[in-house]
């Protein structure tokens, strides 16, 4: 039904895709896997003819017997939404915030002249019901901001399938979502494909997601499909070394046998933090929202402790309190025996002991400073040493970056390199504890494996303690000794990582582990 033949694409003469060929049969789920920059999204955009300016394409992109490369923009407009629907990664920005969800779903029908206003509203309602947003709870008059991320992604799906397209393209549909939500959305997509006899082109970086979903898989690298085949067969053989490399990276276990000492470095004792909830009635003040509710734990010197939870569970609030950025309302946080205070009240010698690495390698640095100045920034806590350049060079070398990187701007580095620089910045003052706030979540699997190795190695060499905050269970499993599971502001389970992952005690932990997509164990034979 969909058939790409030797699709070549270049944008401003920069080659993007090279000889991409594959077929998607009706009712089939086709997984397209690759790391960022591999050209998987561009392939989808070529199908939709939504390519950026200055592109030139050759080859054939057949949709139901017509070559879309030869169609005019007007003909494409008739095709888009009608024959091919698409959903995107970020449900927070894919919807128009000033239109109700009902209107947005109905819009697709109206544009294609498939229904009048009243009918369109009716069909839209039916579609919303179909994607799991029942009328009594989610009337069509809701606005996107009243919905959660998963619910918004459901609205996006309803929009994409409103006209019963033959092909649905899902570009990283669950990457921005929590694991439990991800499982629900993937299940919904699978159901829809079966019921509507659609084809689904599922684009993702996550091998485990395609393993559980796709009938057929293609692996992309640098604009080329290196390997494609029936899913189970592909996983069992892995004939191309890149597929194997990708697979190994995604389940990479760094060697983190660092010695844990008995002295605690961080003690959190009954930490509580509340926020005022928004008023819904004029004379009634709702009870405050407890973001962190009576949380206590200890982190020992040399230990790496994982903190797992879904978005909104309070882990960011807790992190900010540990870093001495926001005050607690109850309880205490002690860093090597001394109390952590918020803001300017925290003594500088204590601040030196804890440093942080954030998730987004693009937002963690002031784009106007050179690397030298960025890595030197923590020296604000001490007097800047005379040989600051040497300190920076040493920190950069520790994380495997050349010392001459310090004279360049941050935008000259890739995501993985930036994350190394972020770690160098955290190391430059020789702290005892590093808080890693989703520090590898935004990275490609192969880069992630390298950063995890680096972290494990640094821990062994420098005797660091890590507080590893993440929503990604595989990462936490790979690098931590002990894990805390957080739900709605409370720690619901704690224990050695192996034990929690193999025999979870709390139902929420079980739910999290069940929801995480996994490659079936018997496929991993090679």
């Amino acid at each position: 039904m969909i058939s790409l033949r030797k699709l070549n694409l270049s944008i401003h003469r920069l080659p993007i895709l090279k000889d991409v060929s594959f077929d998607i049969a009706q009712g089939q789920i086709f997984g397209l896997v690759g790391e960022s920059g591999s050209g998987k999204s561009m392939t989808a955009l070529a199908l939709m003819q939504l390519l950026p300016q200055g592109f030139s394409a050759s080859g054939q992109v057949m949709v139901d017997g017509t070559d879309v490369l030869a169609l005019s923009e007007a003909q494409m407009c008739a095709l888009r939404g009608n024959e091919i629907g698409m959903i995107f990664q970020e449900p927070m920005t894919a919807l128009n915030p000033v239109q109700t969800i009902g209107d947005q779903v109905a819009e697709t029908l109206l544009i294609h002249g498939k229904a009048n206003k009243a009918e369109a509203a009716k069909i839209a309602r039916r579609m919303l019901n179909r994607v799991g947003l029942p009328e009594d709870k989610f009337p069509a008059s809701r606005y996107p901001h009243e919905l959660s991320g998963g619910q918004r992604q459901r609205v996006c799906i309803a929009m994409a399938i409103a006209l019963r397209p033959k092909l649905l393209i899902a570009d990283e549909p669950t990457t921005a979502l929590d694991v439990t939500t991800q499982a629900q959305i993937l299940e919904l997509l699978q159901e829809l494909v079966a019921e509507e006899d659609m084809s689904l082109l599922l684009i993702t970086h996550d091998l485990a997601v395609v393993a559980g979903m796709a009938d057929y898989v293609a692996v992309m690298r640098k604009g080329e499909i290196v390997e494609q085949g029936q899913t189970e067969h592909l996983f069992k053989t892995m004939s191309h070394p890149y597929t194997r490399q990708l697979f190994e990276a995604s389940s990479h276990q760094p060697d983190h046998g660092a010695k844990t000492q008995d002295t605690p470095i961080l003690e959190v004792i009954n930490a509580t933090r509340e926020y005022a909830a928004p008023r819904t009635k004029l004379f009634h003040r709702p009870p405050p929202f407890r973001a962190v509710d009576n949380v206590s734990f200890t982190l020992k010197r040399g230990e790496s402790l994982g903190l797992v939870g879904e978005s909104g569970c309070g882990k960011s609030t807790l992190t900010r309190a540990i870093l001495g950025l926001d005050a607690l309302q109850g309880g205490e946080i002690r860093l090597s025996g001394e109390p952590v205070l918020a803001g300017q009240h925290m003594p500088t010698h204590l601040r030196q002991k804890v440093q942080v690495v954030f998730q987004d390698p693009y937002g963690s640095f002031n784009p106007r400073h050179k690397v030298l100045r960025l890595v030197m920034e923590p020296f604000h806590l001490t007097a800047p040493p005379d040989n600051a350049r040497e300190h920076v060079a040493e920190a950069l070398e520790t994380v495997g970056m050349p010392a001459d990187a310090m004279d360049r701007y941050i935008h000259e580095f890739s995501g993985g390199q930036r994350q190394r620089i972020a770690i160098a910045r955290a190391l430059v003052l020789h702290p005892d504890l590093i808080v890693l706030d989703e520090a590898v979540s935004a990275l490609d699997v192969s880069i992630r494996a390298q950063i995890l190795d680096l972290l494990a190695d640094l821990q062994k060499r420098l005797g660091l303690s890590y507080l590893f905050i993440s929503h990604d269970l595989t990462v936490v499993q790979a690098i931590t000794d002990r894990v805390l599971v957080m739900q709605r502001g409370k720690i619901v389970e704690t224990g050695p990582t192996e034990q929690v992952f193999t025999s979870p005690a709390h139902p929420y932990t079980k739910q999290l582990l069940d929801a995480a997509p996994q490659i079936p164990a018997d496929w991993q034979a090679r």
């Binding site: 870093l323 001495g324 950025l325 300017q344 942080v356 937002g363 963690s364 002031n366 106007r368 935008h411």
Partner: protein
């Protein structure tokens, strides 16, 4: 690296006027304070390059000296606006939601609530018409513009991770504002600055036009327009020349602002 084309055109236009101003301090073709009634309303000639006005003053010299007034008024007015407005905006953003934020922003609203040119006329009417009072009046109305622009832009920077990181390094609000916020909103401020600069030139021309700006014998583009309006049908050049000067100056500044923004941002610079 290629320079943006609008920057080149804008810079050429602007530097043309700036050079005219600098030259006017040491040399003008004729003395603008000397009236030569015998040579009044001359067409352009070898002696008077752009002709003369109804008092026989050389138009070319008048435009050169007039640019001095316009640019001086606009520079100082934008300086007042930036110098006071930007720190106020940064302060408001650093203390978002606090009483200080409210006081600053509501104070801005108060100034915004008055039509600027009318208040400028009031100020110059009360304190007497002069270039200095015109500068003050225009400058005061630049303050809320810069305060609002810098607060809005600063708020979005405050949410970024590198601000959080800077806070973990123990940096205070003032330090973060100066080191991280200001450089990252500078491109917006430069663009706004050039727009306000051109608005300042227009406002000065407007005030001079109604006789509340620079006083005779100091030439000013606005008053040249006012003087020319009675003769607009017989000697249209007398109005067209200062009018064109104002248009070209404002256009040049706006183009330069756009070009500078593109040039100063290291991220945009990479993409080109």
């Amino acid at each position: 690296m290629r320079l943006p084309i609008q920057l080149i055109i804008g810079a050429l236009l602007t530097s043309f006027f700036v050079i005219a101003v600098l030259v006017s301090f040491v040399w003008t073709p004729h003395d603008v304070t000397v009236l030569t009634i015998a040579d009044k309303l001359q067409p352009p000639s070898a002696k008077y390059w752009l002709g003369t006005d109804h008092f026989g003053r050389d138009m070319f010299s008048m435009l050169m000296v007039g640019a001095r007034t316009s640019i001086a008024v606009a520079i100082v007015a934008v300086g007042i606006g930036m110098g006071i407005g930007v720190p106020l905006g940064l302060m408001a953003a650093a203390n978002k939601g606090s009483l200080l934020d409210e006081v600053i922003m509501r104070g801005n609203d108060l100034i915004f609530a008055f039509p600027s040119l009318v208040i400028a006329i009031l100020i110059t009417a009360v304190f007497g018409p002069s270039a200095v009072n015109a500068i003050l009046a225009i400058g005061i109305f630049n303050i809320p513009v810069f305060a609002r622009v810098s607060r809005g832009a600063a708020l979005s920077i405050w949410t970024l991770d590198y601000i959080l990181a800077a806070r973990t390094f123990g940096k205070g609000r003032v330090r973060i504002s100066a080191e991280h916020i200001l450089p990252n909103i500078a491109n917006l401020l430069i663009v706004q600055g050039t727009i306000q600069f051109s608005l300042g030139i227009l406002a000065e021309a407007g005030l001079s036009y109604v006789g509340l700006g620079a006083q005779p014998p100091t030439p000013s583009w606005g008053r040249m327009l006012a003087d020319a309006q009675t003769m607009i049908y017989t000697k249209p050049m007398l109005a067209i020349l200062p009018g064109m000067a104002i248009v070209l100056m404002v256009l040049g500044l706006n183009l330069m602002g756009d070009g500078l923004r593109d040039l100063l941002d290291p991220r945009i610079r990479r993409e080109r």
